[in-house]
Every structure is written in structure tokens, then in C-alpha cells.
Symmetry: C2
Subunit: 215 residues, 2 copies
DNA sequence: TCGGTAAGCTGACGGCATGACAGGACAAGT
DNA sequence: ACTTGTCCTGTCATGCCGTCAGCTTACCGA
């Protein structure tokens, strides 16, 4: 499917090569967590991996190229987000639970991949299609499921006709992503993490069903 | 209030100096709009301003320092966002209009300052307190007004007791900011800008009042 | 066991951005 | 014209970037 892993100059990477490559990616991930994206240098990543800059350039065209790899890897893990919504109900108490579990799972995922998601968000906002596609790949699973749920309720007449399911779903997903990125910001507004989640779930529930949840 | 503008080495800047300084800031702004943050170099900004890198370093410690200035300037303009909510009603048709105008004004502001806001968002997400404070300064005006409105309705018994006004307000503001940053993303979900706004307004109204708007 | 071949790594190098400084250009007041 | 303080830039040491030739290592077939 993906074909063989290749170096920049076209050689196929063997066992040792792939290990080095992966180590560089891991070290890059760590660097992204500990220092601003702007200050992440090839030489630092290489040093951290116990190798030389020249080796780095064998496997990646530049820092951005390597970041894209890290992001791609993370995006495949993001497929698990689909499970948060698959076959769930939005009616009654079950609906409230669905909303809660979505918020919980989403925030957890974002927290776990905080550093790389920051960079993906930036790249997407800057209009880079590669980052933008990765961001879509992650959000689409959640977004599509949400939009379907809204469209379903709409078909049954439980949601107004003039609601655009995709727009509402997208806005809710954007909200979750943004809140996850700036959780610390809420603390200065006197909102604790534990308080935040149910309020987010409330908004999600309101957005999807148009009604307050029954708890 | 802010005192005199000073160079890095402590001299007070005169008329000519301030003009040069401002020109550098303007050129930096342009650079941020046209190229990725990571690739904005002092030498490019200086060249664009028709001066030398050494001059840049007389007024700013580094690119980040200059970016903070641009952001600060933008943040003061952001005070105008307060007007979108001051003295507005959230009841009946007026409530729907309030929500619409908030969404409109917010998106417009974000669009106008897109480039610098991207960088502020990144800096804040990375935990840099300076960027984080600027982000707060912009969002606080809207957030506080929203939280007050919710708390008001809550006091009147129109909103559930277990809603945390600050949390809901913060989440709604985060949603607006995120959607504004990634408007292009919605196009690939088949959502046009014109469709997006009323749906955002709907979510805002739902979040604040807990009820569907009367149009 | 022994080469042969391809993978894997690095030292070294030209090029460019950074950041500091000292000195020259310039404007304003006397 | 002279002085004073502001303003700008040429220059330099330093450090990262990105490339290449060449060396080492692992694998494999004879």
C-alpha cells in the first residue's frame, strides 16, 4: 500500500535505516513538546537522536517534511475518534452520555497529541494544503458522524429545516479543538477542567439536538 | 502611559526613528500574511522596509519581539469588539439579532487580522505568557460580556443553575475564533461562508439562552 | 570464507541569517 | 559653522543550513 520507505536520494531503507528514521521522528516530537515550533532546528533534533544533521537530511527534506510525517502518523491514530460516535444515540439520557463521552474522548486525544496538533493547526491556518488535509482527516471522522446525526434528527422533524448539519457539526468540532488547545486559558477565567467538560457536552448536545439534555 | 518608545540600547526614539520602527512593523505584518511564520527572517523584513538588519535589531530584540508589538497594537483595536455586546438584549427577536451581529463582527475582526492572530494563537498554545495575555485581552471583552449575559439569565431562572457562565462563554468564543481561522476548511465540507454565519449565530444563541431563537 | 554490493553514516564546506559594535551621516539647536 | 544626540549601516564572529564525497557496516551469493 504505502510502498517502501525511501531516503531522499532514492535508496530503500532497511531495518537499521528505518530505526534511525523513527528515532529522528520521536526526537522531533519531543522537541515540539518542549520548545516553540519556530526554534526547532535540524541540528538539535539530530543531536538528540545521537546522530548528525546530514543523517537527518537523508530521510527528510527539511523540518517541515519531518513534521508532516509525525502528523500523518498521529492522524492515523485519530481514526479511533470515530468510535466515540459510531452507533450512538442522541435521544434522552443516552444522548447526554454520547455528548459527554465525545467531549471526553476528544479532549483526551488532543491532550495526548497537543504539540503536533498545534503545528498542524498553524500550517492549516496558513493555507498549507498538506497540513490542511491532515487536519481534515482527523476532524472528518467526528464531523461526518455529527453531521449525519443532525441530518437524521432533521429528517424526523426534530431539528429545524434551516439548520445546515455540516456547518453546525464543523463549528462544534472547531470548538472542541480550540478549547482543547487553550485549556489553560480557561483557568484564568476561573474555570476548572472538571467544570469545563460538562459545559462543553451541554453545548454539543444543544447544537446537535437543539434541546437541553435530560440527565 | 506607555512612556516613550525606546531602542534596545536605551535611547529614546525621535520622529524619524519612530517612523522607521513603524515601517518595520508594517513590513513584518505583510511578511506574516504572505509567508509561514517559521520562514519570516529579520533580513527579509529589513530588506522590505528598505533598511538593514542592524536597524531592525536596534528596535526589536528579535522577530518574536517585533511580533509581540504588532500583536499588542492589534489587541488595542480589539477593544472595539466590546461594542458588539454592550447593552444588547438576548430576548426575542433582539436576541437573534445580537447573536448575528456578534458573529458578523467577530469574523470580520478575525479576517482583518488573520495573520497576526494565527501567530498569537500559536504562541498562546505553546504556553508563552506574553502571547497568552494578548489573546486574553482580545477575547476577554467578548467573553466577559457573554458570561454576564448568561449569568443574568441564570439569575432570572431562565438558564439552568448548573451551567457555568464563564465556561460556556469561553467555549463559544473559542468556537468563533477557531472557525474564523479555518473558514476555508468548511468549504471542503460543502459549507459556504454565507451559510456558516447563521448557523454560528444559532449556536451562540443556543449557548447563551439555552433556547432556539425567534426569528 | 570471501568478496561484491547496497545501505548507512559523517566530516567538511560554501552559503546565509544572526546579533553585536563602532563609526559615520544627519537633523536641530546655538 | 559647531556641537549634540539621534539614526543608520558596514563589518565581523558565530552558528545553522543543506550538500557531497567518501568511509563504514550489513547482507548475500558463490
Amino acid at each position: 500500500m504505502t510502498g517502501q520507505v525511501r531516503t531522499v536520494d532514492g535508496r530503500v531503507a532497511g531495518r537499521r535505516g528505518q530505526a534511525t528514521r523513527q528515532k529522528l521522528l520521536d526526537c522531533l516530537s519531543e522537541m515540539l513538546s518542549s520548545s516553540p515550533y519556530r526554534d526547532v532546528k535540524v541540528i538539535d533534533v539530530a543531536r538528540k537522536a545521537g546522530t548528525s544533521p546530514a543523517t537527518f537530511y537523508q530521510y527528510f527534506p527539511d523540518v517541515e517534511g519531518a513534521v508532516l510525517e509525525v502528523a500523518e502518523e498521529m492522524a492515523t491514530h485519530g481514526a479511533a475518534l470515530t468510535e466515540l460516535l459510531e452507533g450512538r444515540s442522541w435521544v434522552g439520557k443516552a444522548g447526554w452520555q454520547t455528548a459527554q463521552e465525545l467531549v471526553d474522548g476528544f479532549l483526551e486525544f488532543w491532550r495526548k497529541h497537543e504539540a503536533i496538533l498545534r503545528v498542524v493547526d498553524l500550517g492549516a491556518a496558513e493555507g498549507d494544503k498538506r497540513f490542511y488535509k491532515i487536519r481534515m482527516k482527523i476532524l472528518n471522522s467526528v464531523n461526518n458522524s455529527l453531521a449525519d446525526a443532525i441530518a437524521d434528527l432533521q429528517a424526523k422533524g426534530r431539528v429545524d429545516k434551516d439548520v445546515n448539519p455540516a456547518a453546525v457539526a464543523g463549528a462544534l468540532v472547531a470548538m472542541l479543538a480550540s478549547v482543547a488547545s487553550h485549556q489553560k486559558g480557561f483557568q484564568s477565567w476561573g474555570v476548572k477542567q472538571a467544570e469545563l467538560k460538562p459545559n462543553l457536552a451541554l453545548l454539543v448536545h444543544l447544537g446537535v439536538t437543539g434541546k437541553k439534555p435530560t440527565k
